[in-house]
Amino acid sequence: MAKLELQNLSKSYSAKVTPLKQLSLSVEDGEFLTLLGPSGCGKSTTLRLIAGLEPPTQGEIRIGGRDVTQSLPGERNIAMVFQSYALYPHMSVYDNIASGLKLRRVASSEIRRQISEVSLFLGLENLMQRRPGQLSGGQRQRVALARALVRRPDVFLLDEPLSNLDALLREQVRAELKQIFSQQNAPIVYVTHDQTEAMTLSSRVAVLNDGLLQQLDSPRRIYSRPANRFVAGFIGTPQMNLLHLDCNRSCAMLGQYKIPLPVGARSLSEVILGIRPEHVRLVRPGDPIVIQGEVVVVENLGMSDLLTVRVEGKPEFVRTMLSPDQSWSGKSIKLSIPPEMIHWFDAQTGNRVSDATR
């Protein structure tokens, strides 16, 4: 009904400052798209362009097939939840939620009905006459949500809405957000730098870096098949091991160990081997790829130990997650790298090397 489409969207302030380059994507009704990336990657700029708070330098924005690139923010029928919530401090909670409807000249009985519905839904009934200054952080967040929901907009925009909550509350509100927005039948665009939020909430994730779209995929595939070295390193904690290796006759050389390259990487002279710490395990008989090394650092993560292992005969480190049932410190251990868990990237371009199996 109100599909959001971005076409070749670019924004530049000067020749050197170009926060967004040629972004094209579309978000369907009810779809939850997260823009994920480090600060300065262009995700907030994208959101501001969609909202109309800044004009794009180039490109087109369409909502429900309607070109809104030149429309004022108020004409786009968009609702936005801000990082600081941006509640009007001089208005009561009720007036804050009602303000957008009042501007659209909705009858006051209708406003009252809709607000009571939304406030019941969010548990705000008893706060209606308070000022934002008298609310807790979590309550303010709900009011900001209510102000967006009550508008029944064509598109929801959320700009890091959880970042001002403390860690405990954040997890709880995250779950609530998921529930609330699963019932909304409009495109939802969510901006965050927190990959857990992106993974848990989204139906699709767009990873941005340096103004460029790196990968647009489901959370599962972003994790299991990162499109390039940046995504591989950005997604997942602890970070994926990324080893820069020389190639020799269709094998990558990790110290004295030879690791066979997939077909697509046979012509390369250098590759990057990516393996997630949770996929590196202790050796078992019959394992094809085995490396040995000395444990230099042990970090206790509670459910497991994160070990940093110096690969024998190489100045490289590999990190692995092992069960904390014994003391690893200072030991020399043998590790196995399961071939099916390896991600290969072209060292030159950083792009994923297509697997031979596919």
Partner: protein, 303 residues
């Protein structure tokens, strides 16, 4: 990059609104600040006085030549410089002390801050009458206090004595404007993080050492700003002198502004008055530029 015309219009529209909102303020500032200075500049090349029946006659640089040999002008300039230098220095020193005191934690600090602010807020012309009364030769309380303390035998005519008169004006000015400096410096003091002092104290520094090594350097920008403000104001001092001494006795307290005012309003010599305005403006501008330059150097050094 290509820009579609519609978007340009949106931006243009915003700018037009901006200029529209800015215009009344800018016009008023131009009218009251810029026009008078330009007008004085123009007029300074004309003779317009009782001799020309108040009609402007082109006179080239006559006014400026006359100024060069006008002993009264140079004397007023010397008076102004003396007054400015002494009062601003005293005000900075006392203002810093006051700020340091008001920055301490003590009971009733809010009340003390309020009281300390009072002198700044009161009308200078009225304050001038207050100090005239204090320094009155017959009934003044200053004479009485000094006599009671045995410091003088008979009353001194403070305002009537060419040597003392300027000091009465300085006293009044210092009393009135020290709070202003104290407020600016207090804000500066409050912006200095306590961490610096704690770290410095852990290094074994005494409070006096931290004053010279932390407080003073970090406060320097505020001190320069306050000095700049006060310098400009003191250099143009008018109401205090006009009411207290009128420039007397015998021109001993005549500042440039008093001389300009008299030239224009009493002698009706507009051309020469304009030339005085121009020269004062130029001198002041030069000094302020120097101050602003040193401030920018300071800020560059700090960042």
């Amino acid at each position: 990059m290509l820009k579609s015309p519609g978007k340009l219009n949106l931006q243009q529209q915003e700018q037009r609104t901006g200029w529209l909102l800015l215009a009344p303020a800018l016009l008023l500032l131009l009218l009251v600040y810029v026009y008078p200075i330009l007008r004085s500049f123009w007029l300074s090349f004309y003779s317009q006085n009782l001799g020309t029946e108040l009609k402007p006659l082109f006179a080239g640089l006559d006014n400026y030549q006359r100024m060069a040999i006008d002993g009264r002008f140079w004397e007023s300039l010397a008076n102004t410089s003396f007054f400015t230098l002494v009062s601003v220095t005293l005000e900075l020193g006392l203002g810093l002390g006051m700020a340091l005191v008001l920055n301490q934690a003590f009971r009733g600090r809010g009340v003390v801050r309020t009281v300390a602010l009072l002198p700044w807020a009161l009308p200078t012309a009225l304050i001038a009458t207050t100090w005239t009364w204090i320094f009155n030769d017959q009934f003044g309380v200053w004479n009485d206090l000094l006599q009671r303390l045995g410091l003088i035998q008979t009353g001194v005519n403070w305002l009537g004595d060419p040597g003392w008169a300027i000091w009465t004006v300085i006293a009044a000015d210092v009393w009135k404007t020290t709070p202003f400096i104290a407020i600016l410096l207090l804000a500066g003091l409050q912006s200095i993080s306590a961490d610096f002092y704690e770290a410095h104290a852990l290094d074994g520094a005494s409070p006096i050492q931290s004053f010279f090594q932390i407080t003073l350097p970090l406060l320097l920008p505020q001190i320069v700003i306050a000095a700049l403000f006060r310098f400009a104001q003191a250099f143009g001092i008018f109401d205090l002198v006009q009411v207290m001494t009128g420039g007397g006795p015998g021109g001993a307290t005549e500042t440039v502004s008093i001389y300009i005012y008299a030239t224009i309003m009493r002698y009706l010599d507009f051309g020469y008055g304009a030339a005085l305005v121009v020269v004062t403006f130029a001198g002041l501008g030069l000094a302020v530029l120097l101050g602003a330059w040193s401030l920018s150097q300071l800020r560059r050094g700090a960042s």
